[in-house]
Structure formats: structure tokens, C-alpha cells
Amino acid sequence: MTRSADVVVIGGGIVGAACTYYLARAGVDVHLVERQFIASGTSRACDSLTLLWDKSPGPELILGRASTALWAGLVEELDEPFEYHRRGTVLLAEDEAGLEAGRQTAAAMQAQGIRAEPLAQADLLKLEPALSPDLAGGVFFPDDAQIDARRAALALVAAARRQGATVHQGAAVTGIRRRGEEIAGVTTQAGDFATHRVVCAAGVWSNSLARLVNLDLPIRPRKGHILVTARAPGFIHHPLLEGGYVSTVQTAAEGVQVALVAEQTPAGTILLGSSREFAGFDRSVSLTVVQAIARRALRFLPGLAQVPAIRSYAGLRPWSPDHLPLIGPVEAVPGFYLATGHEGSGISLAPVTGRLIADWIVNPNRVMPAAAAVRPDRFELRPRTDKPTNH
């Protein structure tokens, strides 16, 4: 059976869910096709942080702020709660040099009108008494929020359905049909779709889809591990990130990078991260990485020593070479849109991504200027004319 659709969104993670929601809200007949189930990929193997201070002033920060505002609105707009908590985050400095770097980040954010409060050692310990007393200090960023990506994706999809979107789970895409250069349809395990527009929001799996239209994307899976503790209510009060976190994100190193990220979920468990490494599509848990995370956590939060660890998991972030996502049309393949490459900012930037995609499709004149920085064509995407190569 062939259905027809204005737009087919591929990928039911947080980004695809947001695209589907904003398209449906704009009155577009949108079908979401997901290989497994909603949030079955990276969106269920991540933490729940949305940060502003890790974004560079300029287009990235503009998009980040737009998205933060959209998230706050979605709390009211969506019928289902998604564990949104605007507790802020705390950057931790181990020594004076780290604290100075933190102060500079704080100043840069303040210059953009984003709240940031440098904390001396005593203030830091008052805010988070479980921290090791030898830390130099930190910075409090009150505007950052925690969001459960799984619940948020499900809430967006449920709301999109109410707006008329159709969701197909267990619908792996096996082909993208074209007539000339233009998109003509999508073939999935759950049936065929006649459509002129496809949004590829398949995260780390976007490459294999783009290859169906002869495109090579510069996206690589960047693996991250998380270790979960048993419930320990009130152990920490804000998500904590060590100052070195940003450099582990920005390094191009292939090996494992570990920097502390600790956050407590509403259930009381503590999620401990973070690691970054290029390890292909292997999602198995590596004990050495989990151990490194545990050691880093004990360095900052020594009281965790006797708290039980109950689970660990690993997920794959869609890394892009300039640490910015790929959002928008691909000129060389009319009708093919990308919403991918968010690496660790998928939750942060999901709503603005959905908005941009809806604008690109419904009313390109409305697309905000900052979106130029994330247009996929900055990577000069051209259809392959030679024989396919193996990647």
C-alpha cells in the first residue's frame, strides 16, 4: 500500500520528534517513520542536560537561546510532562587556573545577557555540600535546564499525533525513490510513501540514509558512557560539570576523553558521565571507561564511594566536524532536508531544529538568519557520481 504524505520525517529520536511536532503544528501532513520505537536510539542513552554556556557566542548561542525559550513554552504546550526542571548547572573548577577559565566563560555569557554567578570555594560548598572541599570554586548558570529526552520525545510525538501527524514504528527505511533529482517517495518496512519531501533526522544513522540519495555526510558516531547510581535523594542539588568538559567536547582526539558530569534525576538516581570517543557503532559498555567515570566522580564527590552503582549504558552522539548540527535543505537533492549532527546538543537544540525545519518547508522566508551557520551546504554536499565506496 502506498500512502501519500507532504513530508516524511525519518527518525523518532528527540530531533525527529520535534520536527514532526512543528511540521504538524504548521498544518503539514507529516508522517514519522522510525526503525524501532520512539527514542530507541541516542535519545534513550543520554543524560538530560541542556546547556547554554557551552555554546559559542554567535549563531550557536542564538539558536541555543531560541531553543531554551521554546522548551520553556513546550512545558505548557505539550499535554504530557517530560521532567523539565530549570535548576541551572554548576561548572566546577579544580584549581585557580580552572576557576579563572570559568570566570571568563561567566563574563562571556554575561556579556550576552545570560546569567552567570562565579562562586568562591565557600559559596560552592554551600550550594553543593557533597563536593570535595579542595575545589577552587565554580560558576553557577541558573538558566540551564534538565529534560528527560525519552519523555520529551514521547510527549512531542503524542502532541504531533493530536495535530494530525501519523507515526510508524518498526518502519525501517529501505529506499528513497527519486524522479530525476527530486524526491519521489520513501520505501519502508511498514509500507511505501509517495512524498516530495524527506527530513532525515536519523542522528548517527543519518549517513546510511543520505547514501540512499548518493550523499556522504561528515557525521561520525561519538560514543559516550553513563554510570547510574541507586536512589540517593538530595545528594546533589544541581547538575555539576567539571570545567574541562568543554575541551573534551571540542578536542578532535580519537581516544577516550572523560570529564565529570553529574546530575540527579527526579527519581533520585544520579547519572554520572561523561566520556567521548570514536568507536564506530559499537554500543557495548567498556569497563575501563566506566571505571574512569567512577574515579572522576569520586574525585569531585567523595561521598559517592558507598552509594551503589546499579547500571551503566553507552550511546552514540552524532558528531559533526565543526560541532554544529546540519539543519536545513540540501541544494543538490531538492526535497531532502537534514536535521542531524547535534552531537551532545540534541536535547538543547531539538525544538529550534524542529522550528527551522518547519520554516524551511512551509515558509523559507521566516527562517531566522542564524540558521545560515547550520545549513548543511556549508559542507559542500554533492551527490556522488562515482561508484559507491565502503564506509
Binding site: 520505537f37 514521547l154 559498555v285 566506566v290 546499579i310 549504558y313
Partner: protein, 461 residues
């Protein structure tokens, strides 16, 4: 780093049988168990002079007695929290320890399956096996008015234990029909021990005037902060409670049991292929005739390779020990084959019997469907209700993984050990898909909760 030619995880009948056999074959063995002493659930506590003891129990106790002189290194109160290839990561009261083992036998046993129903989280509601352990190992009676309900012969064994301790249960409710038990017939061939065991249980129930009622189940537990009464109901031919047949019985303890689920976390973490075998209790690792999994050097013996009772566990432990010894080059293939042939007939008999037993014990899905509704918690660790689970299934969740993502099931302290098999049956009964399509929760370290300091440490003695 300590090294063992063979590490056996679990000191129940299968593990005991494996270590004693392996030691006799000249293998250097380490035996690990979470409890303070060996024996597993089956041999927990003392043997009573007044209790009938089965051949398996007598054999198990003989193994326990021979353990100190068998030249085996033992680690009690020790949790295996991770395994990578041939390396086991242990947590002991003294701290972490990493153990390299050339071969490993998983003998991690089975756990009980309890069905959710309104009130099942009230204090006073426990598993049938839990009641047996309380009484046999700790000499504690869980209450004064005890009801046993569920399905399968374990109910009779537990009733017998209570009777021998002077506190007969108020009743035993068996959810299946006598007709289903007739299927036992052919499988009883050569099971004279089991038959006389069953006969003596029934005699004891009769003498103690304990009602043994078929096709009846507990549908609700009542009480404010502790169990005060249960509502029971008759079941129709498909296992659904019949409205109007309810009776309220005042009780202060309730034992629930619907058979056993193999503990396969260790073999799943190790990457062994598993298959769904209802006749063996659920998901089990694929093993050959000497209990070798498809991961070289890793064997699975006893209930974790298929629920089949203590006698079968003893035999499979022995077979696995021979398999490990052969893997280590201590015995050649011919000796191994010869020995396995000797065990073969007895093992086949046990498995025929076990298949019927597991089928009888397994809960009727319509009963589960009728009782797991509304605000009945399904995932007890995270407090996820039946209604939330059913909504997620309605929205397309077809696997435990999908349910875990859509709700919080399986994310708590027990990591889905309790709710996993219940959820799979719920998905099946609500969608009509086979139970195995729901899959299982993916197992990742730590297998059991261990302090963060243990995870962080290099486990060197």
C-alpha cells in the same frame, strides 16, 4: 591477580556438584556465592530429622559435607558484578577483587515468579520460596494465618514445610485445574522418588486438614499497612476470575508462587546466545550436552540453564564440570563422551518431568491480564503502574526495551528481574504477539548493585 582454572558462580546443587566433580578431575577451582554459606536456596538451612528428604537433598547435603576437604577455594558473600571474557569482577565485604578464570560455570539458579494483583506490595505478601527460606533457614514463621497461592508443586512443598513446623497454612490455592495435572502421567515414568514425595505432601495436607483447592486464585490483598485479608476467586476454564465467586479470607501472610525464571544475567552479559524455552522456564542460554554455551570456556549448569529441579541441577553440574575439564585438557573427548552417555538417560527423564512441571507452574495469562490493571504497580522499584505500562503498549511498545524507554520499568535496584517476565507476558496478552518477541532487558554492568568505590577500583587483592 588471582587465577583459577575454573570459577563456578553459585553454590547451589549445580555449583556444588560441579566443583566437587571438577576437583576430583584435578581442576583448580574457585567457588563463589553471594550468601554467607554454600547450599543455594535449595539447601538453605538445616535438614530436619522430621522432614522428608529427597534423594537430591541427601546428595546435595553430602556434597556440602565434602566441600571443606575437596581442596576448593571459596568466596562467600561475594557478588559477581561484571564479567569480560575470562575475567570476573567481584565485590566482597573486604573490597573488590578481579579474578581470571580459564573456564567459568554459571550456576546462578532461578528466581521465583510472582504475579501482580491489587495489594501485592503490602507487607505480608511474599513469595512461596521466601516463606520456605524464612521457616527453614531462619526459623521464623511469617505469620499466624498463612495462605499459599499460585500454581505448581512448590506450593505443596511449602505447605509441607509449614505443617512440619506446626503451623499448617489456612489453605493452598492452585490456579490450574486437576485436568492439567493429568499430563504428568507419562512424564512420571521412572520418577518413583518424586511420586512418593508428592504423595507424602498430599497426605500431610489431608492429615492437617489443609484445604487444597484447584482453579482458585488470590485476586486482591487487603490491609492498611499490613496484610489483613485476601479476596480469592474461582477461575474459569481459561484462567479468568469468575465474578461473584469471591471469598474473603482473613490472613496475615500470603505466599505467591508461579514457578521459576532462570537467572541468565551472567550468560547474557557474556554474550551467549539465548533462546526462549517455556518448558525450561523462559530465556535460557543455548548449551550443548556438556552445558557449554557458545562463548568458549563458559558453561551454564543447573536452573540458570533451564529450570528442571535439584536432581537435574546436580547432573548438569557434573556434566559441566566434565566439559570444563575437557576444555582444560584434563580429560579427553572420549572420556567426556563416555561420561555423558552415563548421565544421559537420567537427565532426559528429569527434563521430561521438568517440562510438565514448568508448564503447570506457569501462570495463566488471562489471570495476569485480569489482575494487572489500573494502579497496580508492575515495576515495584520505580512504582510504574499497570495503567502506565498498558498505555505504552497501546502506543506501540512491543518490547521490554521499548517499555523501559516509555516508562521507567526495569530501571530500579532490581534492574527488571522482578517485572521483566511479567511485562513480557503483559505485552503478549495485550497484543497477541508471542512472549519471546518482547525480548528481555539488556544486561549491562554492574550485574548487581555494588558501591561506586568498587567500580572505580582496580580489583587487586
Amino acid at each position: 591477580m588471582p587465577f583459577a582454572e575454573l570459577a563456578v558462580v553459585g553454590a547451589g546443587p549445580a555449583g556444588l556438584s560441579a566443583v566437587v566433580t571438577a576437583a576430583r578431575l584435578g581442576v583448580k577451582v574457585v567457588l563463589i556465592d553471594e550468601y554467607i554459606q554454600p547450599g543455594g536456596q535449595y539447601l538453605k538451612g538445616e535438614a530436619f530429622a522430621d522432614t522428608l528428604s529427597s534423594p537430591a537433598e541427601r546428595q546435595g547435603r553430602a556434597l556440602l559435607r565434602s566441600l571443606p576437604s575437596a581442596g576448593i577455594t571459596t568466596y562467600w558473600q561475594t557478588v559477581v558484578w561484571h564479567s569480560e571474557k575470562n575475567r570476573l569482577h567481584l565485590h566482597r565485604p573486604q573490597g573488590p577483587l578481579t579474578l581470571d578464570a580459564a573456564t567459568v560455570i554459571a550456576a546462578t539458579g532461578a528466581r521465583e515468579l510472582a504475579l501482580p494483583f491489587p495489594g501485592w506490595t503490602l507487607p505480608g505478601v511474599m513469595t512461596v520460596g521466601g516463606i520456605q527460606v524464612l521457616v527453614k533457614a531462619h526459623r521464623v514463621l511469617p505469620g499466624q494465618k498463612i495462605l499459599l497461592a499460585g500454581s505448581g508443586p512448590l506450593l505443596l512443598a511449602a505447605a509441607y514445610t509449614l505443617i512440619s513446623h506446626g503451623l499448617p497454612p489456612v489453605a493452598v490455592l492452585e490456579s490450574s485445574a486437576p485436568r492439567q495435572w493429568m499430563r504428568f502421567g507419562p512424564a512420571l515414568g521412572g520418577q518413583t522418588g518424586r511420586m512418593s514425595e508428592g504423595w507424602r505432601y498430599l497426605q500431610a495436607l489431608r492429615r492437617a486438614r489443609v484445604p487444597y483447592r484447584f482453579r482458585r486464585a488470590v485476586v486482591r490483598a487487603l490491609g492498611s499497612d499490613h496484610l489483613e485479608a485476601v479476596v480469592t476467586a474461582r477461575l474459569d476454564s481459561r484462567g479468568r476470575p469468575v465474578s461473584g465467586s469471591e471469598e474473603t479470607i482473613p490472613v496475615d501472610a500470603l505466599g505467591i508462587g508461579f514457578g521459576f525464571i532462570p537467572n541468565v544475567d551472567l550468560t547474557q552479559l557474556a554474550g551467549c546466545t539465548h533462546r526462549y524455552a517455556p518448558a525450561l522456564g523462559g530465556w535460557v542460554p543455548l548449551v550443548n550436552e556438556h552445558q557449554a554455551t557458545d562463548v568458549p570456556g563458559l558453561f551454564a549448569a543447573g536452573e540458570c540453564a533451564g529450570v528442571a529441579g535439584a536432581e537435574a541441577a546436580l547432573l548438569s553440574g557434573e556434566a559441566a564440570a566434565w566439559g570444563a575439564a575437557c576444555h582444560l585438557g584434563r580429560v579427553d573427548r572420549q572420556e567426556l563422551a563416555h561420561h555423558l552417555t552415563r548421565l544421559k538417560q537420567a537427565r532426559q527423564r528429569q527434563h521430561r518431568f521438568a517440562a510438565v512441571l514448568n508448564t503447570l507452574s506457569s501462570p495463566p495469562d488471562p489471570l495476569l491480564a485480569a489482575l494487572a490493571v489500573g494502579d497496580v504497580p508492575i515495576c515495584r522499584c520505580e512504582g510504574v503502574t499497570a495503567a502506565a505500562v498498558r498505555q505504552a503498549i497501546d502506543r506501540g511498545a512491543r518490547t521490554l526495551d521499548a517499555l523501559k524507554t516509555a516508562t521507567r520499568v526495569g530501571q530500579g535496584l532490581c534492574q527488571g528481574r522482578t517485572c521483566g517476565p511479567i511485562l513480557a507476558r503483559l505485552v503478549a496478552s495485550q497484543t497477541g504477539c508471542p512472549v519471546e518477541q518482547a525480548g528481555f532487558f539488556r544486561v549491562r554492568p554492574p550485574l548487581k548493585p555494588v558501591p561506586l568505590s568498587t567500580v572505580a577500583a582496580e580489583g587487586v587483592e
